[in-house]
Amino acid sequence: MRRIKRTLHVAKNDLRIMVGDKIFFFWTLAFPILFIVIFGVLYKAGDNDPDVARLTVVNLDQGRWGSYFIGKIETPGIAVTVTGEEPAEYGRLLVIPADFSARIEARRDQALAFKKRSDASARAAARVETRLMQAIARTIGELVLYGPGDLAEFLDGHPEFKDLVVVKSEFPANTVTVVPSGFDHSIPGTTIQFIMMMVMIYGGITVMEDRKRGVLARMLFSPMSAGELFRAKLLGRWLMGLLQALMLFAVGKIFFGLDLGSVPLALLVIAVFALAMAALSVFIGSLVTKEDVIIGLAILLANIFAGLGGCWWPNEIVPPAVRGVARISPAYWAMDALHQLTFFQGGLADIAVPVGVLAALAAVLTAVAGKTFRIRE
C-alpha cells in the first residue's frame, strides 16, 4: 500500500510540474484545437466534400433539345450555369453544339465536349460525369421508348421517363444516423497525434533531465526503489496523455458536438494507447541524452505514426500497400478502435482486436523501458 502511495505521489508530482508549465496548455490544448478546427473545416468544406458540384453548360444549340437535355442534367447535388459562350473560369464545362437538336432529330450520333480543369476537384468532376451519363441514358431511353416517329414533334408532348429503379442509401443499422462531420474525423486524429507527440516530448525530456540533474538518483535516498521510481515515471506520463485526451474530447463534445459512441470504451482505448506512448517516452528519455534529439525523434515518430495511422487523412484513400504497412503504427490501431466506437457505435467485442494489439504493444514497450530505465548518466 505504501509503495502504491509513493508511486502515486511521484506520478502526481510529475503531472503537477508538467501542468504547471504555461506552455503545456498551448501544446496540449490550444495547438491541437487549432489543428482540429483547420482540419475539421477542410474535411467539411473542402474539395473532399462538395455539397454541390458545379457545371457550366455552353448552350449553342439552335433548337429545343439543348434546353431539354440541360433539364435532364439538373438533379440534386449539381448546380448548372448556362452560358452562351465559353468562360475563362470554370471547373467543369459541357458544350452543347449549335447542331445538337438537328443531329438528334436526324438521329445522327454526336459527342459532346466535356472539359475538366486539371486543377479542379476530381470528385466533383466524377459526380458531374456520372450525372451526365444518367442524363444521356434518360434522354436515349425516352427516344427509344417514345421516339419512333418525327423527333421534331417529340418535345411537344410525350410521357416522362419513369425511374422504375431507384437507389436508396443508408448507413448500417445501429451506427450513425447523420453524415459524420469533418470534426468527427479531425478530433480523434488530432488527439491521437498530439498524445503521441506531447507524451514523447514532455515525458522523454523530463526523464532525461531528471536523470542528468541527479533528481532520480536523489529520489533513491527516499524509501523508493528503482522499480517504484520507474512505475511512477510511467504513471506520470500516462496520466498526462489521459489528461490531454480528456481535455480535447471535452472541447470536442462542447464546441463541435463530438459523439464518441461509448465514452468509457473510448477512454479505455486512449488509456491503453497512452500507456504505450508513456512507456515509449520513458524508453526514449532513458536512451537519449540531448533534448533536441528527443524533440526530433518525437516529431519524426509521431508524424510517421499519425500519417500512416489515418490521423490526417481518411484511410480509404490510402493505397492498399500503405494500409498494410500502417499496421506497424500504434495510431492505426487506436484510430481503428475509435472509428468502431464513433462511426459504428461498437462495443467491447468490436474493439477487442485493436485494443489487444495496443495492450500487447504497451506491455512490450513497458518491459523494454523498464530494462533500459537508467537512474544515473
Binding site: 498551448f26 450520333d109 486539371s118 459526380r127 434522354t139 436515349i140 427509344v144
Partner: protein, 414 residues
C-alpha cells in the same frame, strides 16, 4: 574577421561532432514528403483512388439481378471496384464493422418486379467512416438504375406478354404464340439500335488548364511541390536549434569567458549569425539534394534556386538572431520557438495546401517566410525568377538583422 571565422568553424565542427538532432530534423521533412507523396501520388490513368471494396447481395437471383452484378465485371469497373458477392446477413455484419466501402442489396423479387414494370429499390449501405468511396458506389448504382429503368420500359409490353405465357407449367407453354412477342421485341431492338449503335449521345472528355495553371501533376511533380514546404519548416527548426548557442553560451558562462579574450561582441554575433546562415543553407541543400535523388523532385534552374535558398537561410538566421535577442533564456526560447514555427508552417502552406485554405488563413500566410519560400520555389520550378519573393525575404531579413545586432550586443555586453 579571422576571429569570427574561427568561431564559425568551431561551431560547425561542434555540430558535426554531435549531428543526431540535425540529422533527425533533416530526416523528418524527407520522410514526410515521402509519406505524403506515396499516398497522394497519381496512380494508374483513370483510377486516382484505390480499389473500392463493394459487397454485393443478390436476394433475387433472377436475370436482371445477374445483369446488374455482372456490370461490376466490365474491365474498367473491375479496376475501380473490388466486389465480393455475399449473403445479406454476412454483408450487413461486415458493414457494421466497416469492412467495405458499401453494400449493394438487390431485393428479392427484383427481376419479377421489373418484368411487371413495378418500381423497385436498390439499397446501398454506406460505410459511415468513409467520406468519398461510398458516394462513388452510390452514383454508379444510380447510373445503372437509370439504364435498367430505360430497358425495362422499352420492353415492358413484350416482357409482360412473354411472362404471362410462361407463368404456367412448362408443358403448357404455348410455344407457337411466343413467336410474335419475340418478333415485336426484335423490331424494338432494331429501332433502338438507331440510338444505341453508335450511341446517339456521347461525352468527349478533355482535360483543360486555366491560363497560368500548372500541368497535371505526376508523382515527381507532387514530391517537388511538397518538399519545399517541408524543407522550409524544418529549416526553421534546425536554424533555431543551431542558433540557440547565443543563449546557451550566456547561461553556461562560456560567453563571459569568451569576452575575456580580444574577441569583440560584434565578431561573436557575426560568427553566430553567419553560422546559422551557412549551416542552414547547407542543410537546405542537403534536403533538396536528397529529395532530387530519392524522389526525383525538381527545383528548376539551380542558380536561381541557390539564390532563393541563400535568401531563405539568411532570413531564418536573421529572424532567430532577433528572436534569441528578445527571449530571456533557453527554456523560453524552446517554448516559444516551436509554436511560432508551427504557426508559420500552418498558415504559410507547409502543412496544408494554400489553395485549400480559407481566405483569412491565406492572408495571414503572407506574413510567413514559408509562404514566400514555397511560392518562390514554385516559380523557380516553372523557370521564372522569383523577384518579389527574394526581395521580401532579403528585405525583411535585413530588417531583422538591423534590429537583432544592437539587441544582441546589449545582451552580450551585460
Amino acid at each position: 574577421m579571422r576571429r569570427s571565422a574561427h568561431i564559425l568553424l568551431n561551431d560547425v565542427r561542434r555540430h558535426v561532432k554531435a549531428p543526431w538532432a540535425i540529422l533527425i530534423f533533416i530526416a523528418i521533412p524527407l520522410v514526410m514528403t515521402g509519406l505524403i507523396g506515396v499516398i497522394f501520388a497519381p496512380r494508374t490513368e483513370g483510377s486516382e483512388l484505390p480499389p473500392i471494396a463493394v459487397l454485393l447481395v443478390d436476394n433475387d437471383k433472377g436475370l436482371a439481378a445477374k445483369l446488374l452484378v455482372s456490370s461490376f465485371d466490365v474491365d474498367q469497373m473491375k479496376e475501380m471496384f473490388q466486389t465480393t458477392v455475399t449473403d445479406e446477413a454476412d454483408g450487413r455484419k461486415r458493414m457494421a464493422k466497416g469492412k467495405a466501402s458499401a453494400l449493394v442489396v438487390i431485393p428479392e423479387g427484383f427481376t419479377l418486379d421489373l418484368l411487371e414494370a413495378r418500381p423497385v429499390t436498390l439499397l446501398v449501405v454506406k460505410n459511415p467512416a468513409e467520406q468519398f468511396l461510398p458516394d462513388i458506389v452510390e452514383e454508379f448504382m444510380a447510373t445503372m438504375a437509370v439504364m435498367l429503368s430505360g430497358v425495362v420500359q422499352a420492353f415492358a409490353e413484350e416482357v409482360r406478354g412473354i411472362r404471362a405465357m410462361i407463368d404456367g407449367p412448362i408443358d403448357r407453354i404455348p410455344w407457337e404464340t411466343l413467336g410474335p412477342e419475340f418478333g415485336k421485341a426484335q423490331k424494338k431492338i432494331a429501332a433502338a439500335a438507331k440510338y444505341l449503335d453508335p450511341l446517339l449521345l456521347r461525352l468527349k472528355e478533355e482535360e483543360t488548364q486555366a491560363a497560368g495553371a500548372r500541368p497535371r501533376i505526376t508523382a515527381s511533380h507532387l514530391f517537388s511541390e511538397i518538399l519545399p514546404g517541408m524543407a522550409i519548416m524544418f529549416l526553421l527548426f534546425i536554424v533555431q536549434t543551431l542558433m540557440r548557442d547565443l543563449l546557451s553560451d550566456r547561461e553556461d558562462g562560456k560567453l563571459r569567458r569568451m569576452m575575456t579574450t580580444p574577441l569583440r561582441p560584434i565578431e561573436l554575433i557575426g560568427a553566430r549569425i553567419a553560422g546559422g546562415w551557412i549551416m542552414g543553407l547547407a542543410v537546405l541543400l542537403i534536403m533538396v539534394a536528397f529529395g532530387a535523388l530519392v524522389f526525383r523532385a525538381t527545383v528548376g534552374p539551380f542558380g536561381t534556386f541557390l539564390l532563393l535558398a541563400v535568401a531563405a537561410a539568411f532570413w531564418t538566421a536573421a529572424f532567430f538572431a532577433l528572436f534569441h535577442a528578445l527571449v530571456r533564456n533557453r527554456n523560453q526560447a524552446g517554448a516559444v520557438a516551436a509554436p511560432v514555427i508551427l504557426a508559420f508552417s500552418i498558415f504559410g502552406g507547409s502543412m496544408i495546401n494554400v489553395e485549400a485554405m480559407p481566405k483569412a488563413f491565406r492572408l495571414i500566410g503572407i506574413l510567413t517566410p514559408n509562404r514566400w519560400y514555397i511560392d518562390s520555389a514554385a516559380l523557380v520550378r516553372d523557370g521564372r525568377f522569383p523577384l518579389v519573393g527574394l526581395i521580401v525575404l532579403v528585405a525583411s531579413g535585413l530588417l531583422f538583422l538591423a534590429l537583432a545586432v544592437p539587441a544582441l550586443r546589449r545582451r552580450i555586453s551585460v
